[in-house]
Every structure is written in structure tokens, then in C-alpha cells.
Symmetry: D3
Subunit: 239 residues, 6 copies
């Protein structure tokens, strides 16, 4: 399993969220793009990891004084410490960025522990510092207020909604400049394989378009001429 996971990740690292979206669309999954989140940093690396989730509900004032963090069992802190190696911490902040989901200390800790990234449909504080970490992070917009202002961490690793997408623990989460896609774990391997093939084809098309060829017949591949050229291109080692 671990080995499979590594293979899947290696493939997903080479494909884009747009390609994954098309691949899932063909399977009838049209709602796997986390809406409205954007990458904080400017890294070109693709984020790939299994989802480890954290659920927030609205904060009730009496339950969320600053002292709650002294509780060593506070779910936000526990989630950070327990997020497995290679996983992406995905936070359900109810699409609300009016208070932070987390700040630079927690995100740094997550990075140090070996997580693959962090995603919230809310916002991060210390966003300037987070943006400079060599660690993929996605949010809606910066937000200085402490999470206790509006969010109470309540559950770890249960199915959640994030940016209007269902995220189940273990789903594969992929992020690039477009944003973040969620791939159901049961089809992750076949999706990774198909996306890799699609990516080779897209590279071929882009090469041709950059040479000035029109897209009709080439994209999608319907003209005999282009079908043959693509075949030859691949045989010549194109990808």
C-alpha cells in the first residue's frame, strides 16, 4: 500500500490539476476542485499527499477563551502533531476567512514533521512568513485574527467539506498554481496513470500549437494526420 501510494504520488507530481479535473470529469466527478483557494508561495512544485482532515465549527465565546490552547488535547494542536508524513492537512473552515485557520508556527511545525502541505477554505495569519516557507500552503486570503475568534476545532480526520468539495481522509490531494484537486482514493492509481498519458498528449499539442498549427483536428485528436504524428512523437520518446 505504502509502495502504491509512493508510485501514485510520483505520477501525480508530474500532472496538473487541470488535467486531473478533466480526467475526473470523464468519470462523472465534476465537483472535486476546492473553490476559491490560492497558493501563498510562488513555488513551482506540485503539492501531492493524502488528506488528513480537521473540522472547525463556529466558535462559541465561552468555549474559546485564549486559555483553551493550554489543553494539550486541543484538536487544532493535536491535528498538527498527528498529521502523518506525506499527508496534506485539509481544514474545513466553512469557507470563512474572517479569522485565521492557523499561523506560521503551526505551519512550520507541520513542515518540519514531514507533512506534504496544508489547505484551508479560510485564511492563514502570518501569511507573509508562510509564503516564504518551502512548503505548499493554500487558503482564501490572509487573516490576522486568531482562529478562536470564529473557529472551534472539533474533529480530526472525519469526512469534511472544504471549498465546497467532499474530502474523505486518505483522498489524494494535488495542488498547483490553479488550486487544489481532490481524488477519491479508490481511483487514485488509475487517475494518476491516465493523467500521465493525457499530459504527454497535451505536451505534444502545446509543442505543435507553439509551432503555429491550428487546434482543430489536433485538440482533441481527431485528424488522421495528427493521430499518426502523435504516435510517432511518442515512439521517438516524446512525453
Amino acid at each position: 500500500m505504502k509502495k502504491t501510494s509512493t508510485h501514485i504520488k510520483e505520477k501525480l507530481q508530474q500532472v496538473s490539476t487541470a488535467t486531473i479535473a478533466t480526467c475526473l470529469f470523464k468519470r462523472g466527478l465534476k465537483n472535486q476542485f476546492i473553490q476559491g483557494v490560492t497558493s501563498l508561495g510562488s513555488s513551482k512544485n506540485t503539492m501531492v499527499g493524502e488528506a488528513f482532515t480537521l473540522r472547525y465549527i463556529p466558535a462559541r465565546e465561552d468555549l474559546n477563551p485564549i486559555e483553551v490552547f493550554k489543553d494539550k488535547k486541543h484538536p487544532q494542536r493535536v491535528a498538527v502533531e498527528n498529521c502523518p508524513d506525506g499527508s496534506v492537512l485539509v481544514i474545513d473552515s466553512r469557507n470563512n476567512a474572517r479569522a485565521a485557520s492557523a499561523g506560521s508556527i503551526l505551519v512550520t511545525r507541520l513542515m518540519k514533521k514531514g507533512a506534504a502541505g496544508i489547505v484551508t477554505d479560510g485564511g492563514f495569519r502570518d501569511s507573509g512568513e508562510i509564503a516564504e516557507l518551502p512548503f505548499p500552503s493554500y487558503h482564501k486570503r490572509p487573516s490576522a485574527p486568531t482562529n478562536l475568534t470564529l473557529h472551534q476545532a472539533i474533529d480530526i480526520n472525519v469526512p469534511i467539506g472544504c471549498g465546497d468539495v467532499a474530502v474523505f481522509p486518505g483522498d489524494f490531494v494535488v495542488g498547483d498554481a490553479d488550486g487544489v484537486m481532490v481524488i477519491p482514493v479508490n481511483i487514485a492509481e488509475e487517475v494518476a496513470d491516465e493523467c500521465l498519458q493525457m499530459t504527454h498528449y497535451e505536451n505534444f499539442v502545446l509543442e505543435k500549437v507553439n509551432k503555429g498549427y491550428p487546434i482543430i483536428g489536433l485538440y482533441p485528436l481527431t485528424d488522421e494526420k495528427w493521430i499518426n504524428e502523435f504516435k510517432a512523437w511518442k515512439e521517438a520518446g516524446g512525453k
Copy 2:
């Protein structure tokens, strides 16, 4: 406990959500009004009951074909059948009314079972029929599409967010023409008592205002004259 619950409910039945909101505001709880929901019917009765919760996440297409309802364990149906007598079913629909949270058959069943009401921060289908039931129901707006279109029922009786309010199982839920307030269970009795007193005072004020008196000194009660009159009014049986 059951007896206490009954006493609390009898008192809450006589007070308004506005009075409860002020009472909770004084205790530092400023975010207990479920935002954006409205009553479907035109009944004048106040809805009162303990919260029994249902959590929805976004629907993934492969997990939500029409056939899922054949599963006798489907959480939406189970929630309706298990909602205790005198409780209010509160649904976390992620503020999304683009598909229904439930329809008239489930709501009728809930009524028949003895529930006290139903609240969603999404929408109901068959809203015309639901509006005519002698049963309190609150939603954002009508919505014909089946819940499977956008919602997957995932958890029963866990803490949820509903209309931007934290709702814990067992909280007291009160609804009138303004909408729905949520009272933490641990302070419900004192809140009910205080609200009843506040209501008597408000009735006194309204009586005076309707007679043409100005509000300053009367509302709030700061003038000696009005303090004495209110005392006399209460002694004369006013409430």
C-alpha cells in the same frame, strides 16, 4: 432532568428570540442567532426543543446515486427516525440552499414522531406542503432538487455549524417570527428565568409606549418614577 427540561420549555415558550438574544448578549454570547433562516408557516406558536443534529458534507457523485436511500442505515432517514420526542432536528447544510435538505414526507414523519421542529441552513422541497403542516420549520428558501444533488448526510448528533452558529446536541433551540436562537444547555434554565422577567418588563414598556409615553427613562428603566410604576404594575399582577 426531564422535568427541568419541561419547565425550561414552558418558560421559553413565552419569550421571544429577541429577548433571548439580549439575555445571551449580556453573558458575552453574541453569535447564537442562526443567520438567514425564516419560518415556512405562519403559525404564531414559538418553537422550543433540544437540538438533535444532522451533518451534511458536499455530495460526491459516485457516493450519492438515488439508490443510496435503499440503505436502511442512510443517516438522513435514520436521523429522522431517531430524533427524540420534543427535540428539534437541526441540519448543517453549509448555508447551501441550492439543493434541498429534506422534503415534506420526512418533515411529516418528524412531526408524527413528536419532534418539536426542524431547522436547516439550506432549503426544503415541497415547501408549500411543509408550510401548511402544524409543525415549526425554518430554512433559507425553497429548493426543489433532491438533497443527493449537493448534500451527503454523514453524521448524526455531533456538534455542527448552522447558519454560522455553533449547535451542540442538547442545546435549547427557540424559533419565532424573527428566526432561531440557540441556548447552551448549561445556562438554559437561568436564561429562561431571566427572559421571562425581561418579557414582563417589555410588556410593561409596550403598554406605556402605546399610551404615548416617551422611551427615555422608561426603556431602559432609569427614571425613579417608572421604576416605581413598574413595581406597582407587577404587584398588580402585570406580566
Copy 3:
């Protein structure tokens, strides 16, 4: 064709938008409910008719002085005069109710001409008067400003978006208290037939639920006992 259309309409008159939504969901059509519109009147009659469409774009000030209405070819007025008997005028107002889509004079004219109803994803002016007409009308909210303020009528009877739904001329449009569903013309007959059957079943279920039976096994129909009872009920003339 005309005859078919009449038959379809008679059937659709007896079913709800919620039932239609489920029927279309089963066929993979999940986005046929016009989002956010509500009925102005309080009539209990179901609106049914073929879509006749009108498309608005944003109004450019120099092209939309009050004088444009003197042009006998102005598309808004032409659309009203040309909307066929039994059709529903569906207006693409770009989900914008900050200015009116039409007012009581045009809506009255439409009614007099024999149209079946009017739907806009904007708002109507003179909404109090329109609400009292014996004519189904659906909008987002009342809006006093003349349509020229924000809308320019540009096209008649082309495919449009209305409330985030694709509406093609000739589609069947059905409205009730929940709002408005759009049925592709090519499947309208089979949908009408299936919905009528579903409605009979739902009536059976509601009858049983009102008698106090639980929904599991009954809704959907999975228990042998209920399957037989339903069969008997239908044979006894139930519908």
C-alpha cells in the same frame, strides 16, 4: 406535436417541481432548478408551458434612454407580443434584480395574450399588482427601477441562462411553491409520465406517514409488505 404538448402539460400540471427534480436527477440532469426565484402570487396552480426566451445584457447609457421604447421593434415589447399561447416567457436578467425585468403592464398583456407565465432571474416592478393577477410569475425580489437602468433587451428566443440553468426555447417550464424547473423538450414526455407515477407513490407514502408509519422500508419502497400494500392501493384506485 401540439397534441403531445397538451398531454404533457396535463400531466405536468399534476406533479411537483421536487418530483421533477428527482426524475431528472436519475437521468443525470442535476442543474435544472432555476436558483433563487420565488412566486409573486399565492395561487396554488402549477405553472406549465414551453419556454420562450428573452436575453438581456447590461444597459449602456447612450443606447438606453427612455425614448427607445418608442421603437416598435424594441425586443422587450416584441417578446411580450410574440410570446406564443401557452408559453412561459423566461428572461435572462443575469441574476440581477437591481433594476426591473418588466412591470405590471407588460405582465398583464402577456396574461391577456394567453401566455402560461413569466420567469426572470431579476425582479419585477409593480410587484404588488402582479402578485394579484391570476397569472404565474416568478422573480428574485421586487425592483422599482425601469429595466433600462441596467438591462438592454438584445435577443428573442435564443438559448439563455436563467438562475444558473440552461434554458432552450421549447423546453418545458414548470413552477410551483418551490420555484421553477426546466425539462429538456426531448425527454419531456417520458419525464411527465414517470413523474405522474412517482407522484402516486409519494401520495401513498404520505398517506401512510400521516397514519404514523415509519419511513424506513416504505420510502423508498424496499419492504415486501409495503410493496404489496402499494400494489393493492393502486389497484384500489389510489393515486
Copy 4:
């Protein structure tokens, strides 16, 4: 002046907000409709009065404990007591209905004092009771939380924004089932006169449309035949 004001009001009482909107549109004023507010009651009477304004800013917690109302100078209470006879209290709630702008006691007091109505681009609490007062009131939606939760009353009778409209003290404010229009005081008389004429014409058109005539040439009045008929209709006392 007072006399003029009375004359203007008598005329405005007979016209609709839609007619006023068209009249102002012709003068280049395209943004005088208070967006998104709706009448609480079901009265058919038109609200007419001069604007008396109240400005809210966001509530800072330390400045807005419940005790502030004990201050006899609190601007919200002072505004209610000082709103002149025949005026409409217009509140700038920053389009925010998450807490109340006012409740039934203040609205009742305003009615008793002789005000002509109340408008907020927020919400009212005790909305069920306010709806039953013989007093025009307009808001976005009901809202139970006390205004102190989110609003601090800061200024009385200054220029404000309400529902995205500039409202200057003394402007004429007219409300009906469509919502609320604001007429600059300096053109109020001519607008009232023109609207009355327009209303007569619209009544004529509606009479004809109800008899089955098409609108082209009639609405607007471009056909010789209709021009003459309208002249005759007026001479015969039509209005």
C-alpha cells in the same frame, strides 16, 4: 414650505415607486431605489415622508455594553424621540442584517410620535409584532440580536447611504410593495406632479391592456389613435 410639503405628500401618496423611478431616470438619477429592502406589513398604503437619518458604524465591544442605553443621550433613542412628525426614520446599517437595527418598542414609539415610517438596510427584531403595526416599515430580513451586537449609533440627521442610495436629510422617501425610493428635496414637487400625470396615463394603458389591446403604439404612446383616445379619456375625467 410646510404647505408645499403637504401638497407633495398628497400627490406622492397616489403614485408608485416604479413610476417615481422612471421619472427620476429621465432626469439622470438612476440610483434612488433602496436595494434589497422589503415591507414587513401587508398594508396597501403608500409610505411618504421626509428623511430623518441615523448612522450606524460597526460596534466596538468596549463601547457597546448593554449599559449604554442608560445614557439618555444615546443616539438611537434620541433619534427615535426627535424624528419629526411626518418624517421617515432612515437608518444606515451598512447593509448588515446580522444584528437588529431596532425592535418593536422603538418602532411603536416612532409610530405614536407621528412619524411616517421607518427604513433600514439592516433588519428589525420583534418583526412579527412590527408587521402587525399600522405603520410602514422596511428592512432586509428579521434579525433577533440587539443592535449593540454589531451596530453603534453615531450620528443623527447627516447624509447617509442606505441600501446603496445616498439619503440626505429632508429628501422625500416613498415606499410601496416594490420597496423604497428616495427623491431629492429640490425636485420633489416637480417629480410629484409629473408622476401623477404618468400614473393617469398608466391607468389608461392598463385599462386598455385589460381589454385585450396590444401594447405597441399604446405603451409608450406613439400611435395617433391612442394619443387621441387618451386625450378623450382624460377629458372624460379619467385618471
Copy 5:
């Protein structure tokens, strides 16, 4: 005409969208700024071209399987291939960025064909790659899902709405760091001329302000002293 077009474009290349907005404001056109779109790249060059339009409606699932692109007449692909040299492809995506309007292959093709830019009130996929093309592109935010998920291309080169602006084929479209302005073709030449003059004046003002002078009397130019200085500055070749 072609020559005129070239002259207009040369002038517009030297002016800002802010200057154009003020110039159109003076002519009563207050709604020509495409709301909410932002440049993907970091190029400092101003985009200028005539509008070539593409209209999307909501995607109905049965009409938008992945196979539709095999149709060589698919309007999205045809629009890209037919967009004339020097034109800007402007897409009406109904302000909806939840699925892509286009991706890097189509945008690259458009660039190769000699188009002047692309604008959508939705989002692009492959946004990282598009941002690096030497080609002006404007959207709301990145969006990985294929356009078929939510958009069906339906019309080419008809009047559309884009970001709440009316866009007619042939209008001049100008984009810079602020966003995108649309200039009606019939006044494009005079607007270009006037904007160039305004730009010279603004450059003069900025020069003075950078030297520490106050703006009153200088901006706008009402002081005799500044009027004379500006005259001298222009005579000395300032612009």
C-alpha cells in the same frame, strides 16, 4: 478604417484605463469597467484590441460530455480559430469562475494567431502557464475544471455582458494593471485623442506633486499660475 483602427490603438496604448474611465464618465458612460477581473501576467504593456466575443450559457450535462470537442464546429474552438488579428477575445462566463473559461493550449493558439489578448469574467485553467505567456490575459481567478463542467459555448461575436459591462463586437478593449475598460467603437477615436491629452496633463501634475506641490488648484487645473505653467510645460515639449 483599418488605418484608423491602427491610429486609435497606438494612442490607447499610451493611456491608462483610469484615464479612459474618466473620459467616458464625462460622456455619461459610467459602467464600462469590467468588474472583478485581474491580469494573470506581470507584463507592463497595455492590451488594446477590438472585441471579438464568445457567449457561454450554463452547461446541461447531456449536451456537454467530453466528446463534444470532437465536433470541429464547437463554438469555443471556432471562436479561437476565428478571432481576428489584433482583436481581444472577450468571453461572457456569467461571472462564474467555478469552472474554466479556457486553458493554456487555447490561449497559446490565440496568441500565435495574432490576437491582442483574452478576457473572461470567469477563470482560466493552467493559469501558471498562461501567466508566463507574453500575451495579455484577464480573469477572475484560476479554475482547474474543464469549461464543460459549467459552461456551454453557444454564440460567437454577439453582444454580451462581461463583468457587468455591455460588450459589442468591435468595441475597443483596453487592459492594464487596474483591469479592463470597454470603449464604444463609435467614440473610440475621440476618446483616444482626449485621453492622450489628459495623460499629458496628468504627467505634468505628477511631476509637480513629486516635487512637493499641493494638489489644490493644480488638480484639477484651476489656478492661473498652474494653467500658465502647464502651457509652458507643453510648449517645452512636455507630455
Copy 6:
């Protein structure tokens, strides 16, 4: 006072908006973060200054022709000229960025006069040029249309709302990559002192987290070991 102000500013310069937000949260102030604004430039310097405010209401067309700027008393221009040295101009644009709050000429003038920054809950025009000024500026998004299109400057240095925060003249305004916090003037000194201490502690934590230590017991500081280490770290000159 002036001296105090300088001391406060020196301290606030060294702390983040996130730290200030937590410090204010502890004092019960949960709503001091200006929602939805972002820095235009990429400067790493923290903006600090006292609030000098400008209030906009919606623009009525007859009161806002381009000529109004010729009035040397126009509040927008006067506000810029009168904004004191070291102050931040904070503009209440009613959260509306559909027209500009100001452009590069005014912002440059403000910088030249010695202001500390500018904040609007609307948008700036000439945003590309403003972004390159060595001057902190915060807005929602770029906006080319002149402010007269939608905004009328009406009041200088009164209490306002900005991004849903109450801003009183003289409040301390602090901006960094997360956005902008507002500190009530009466607690500014103690907040600055406390934030400086909090920052030292956060630096200590980050140093430890970067060395690989877990956060529990360290953040917040509850473990004896870490309490002692922190004490030693400070004694050794850590900050």
C-alpha cells in the same frame, strides 16, 4: 503625547498584525481586523500611524459631475491635504470597489506630505503605479472608474466603518502582509508593550520549532522545561 505616540509607533513597527489581533482578542476586542483588504506593494515594512478618516456615501449623479473637483473645498482633496504627518488616511468606501477611492496622484501627494499610509475598503485606480510607490497602501482590488461614479466624499475625520471595523480618528492603524489592524487609542500603549513581549516569545517558539521540537507544551508555554528555557533565552538576550 507626541513623544508617547512615537514610542508606541516604534514598538508597533516590530510586531505583526496577527500578534496584535491575539492581544486585542484577550481584551475582548474581536473585530479590529479590516476584512478583505490587501497590500498593493511588496514592501516588507510595517505600516503604523494614527487614523485620519474620510467618509464616502453613494454618489448621486446631479451632485457628482466631474466639475465638483474644481471646488477647492472638495472633501476628498481637502482630506489628502489635511492628513497629518505620520497619520494613515482610512477611507470608508462602504466595502465597494466598483469605483475607485483614489488614484496615484492623490496617493503620491499623501506620501509627499508625510502620511504613513492609506487604507480603503474600496479600490484604487492607477494601482500599478501606487504599488511601486515606497508608501503602504491597502485596498480590496484595483478599480479604474473615478470615485465620482459611485462615491461622494462627505465627512472628514469622523468615526467610520472600514472593512466592517469601527475606526475612530486617532486610533492606531497597523498594516503588514496579513492586512490591517485597528487599535483603540486608549489602550495603544499597553497593547504595543504586550505585543512586543509576545513577539519575543513567538520568536523563541519559532526558533525551537525550526529545530524540530513539537509545539505541545511549548506553544502555549505550559511545560516547566520550556518555561525555564525561555527564561534563559531571554536572559541571554533573545528577542
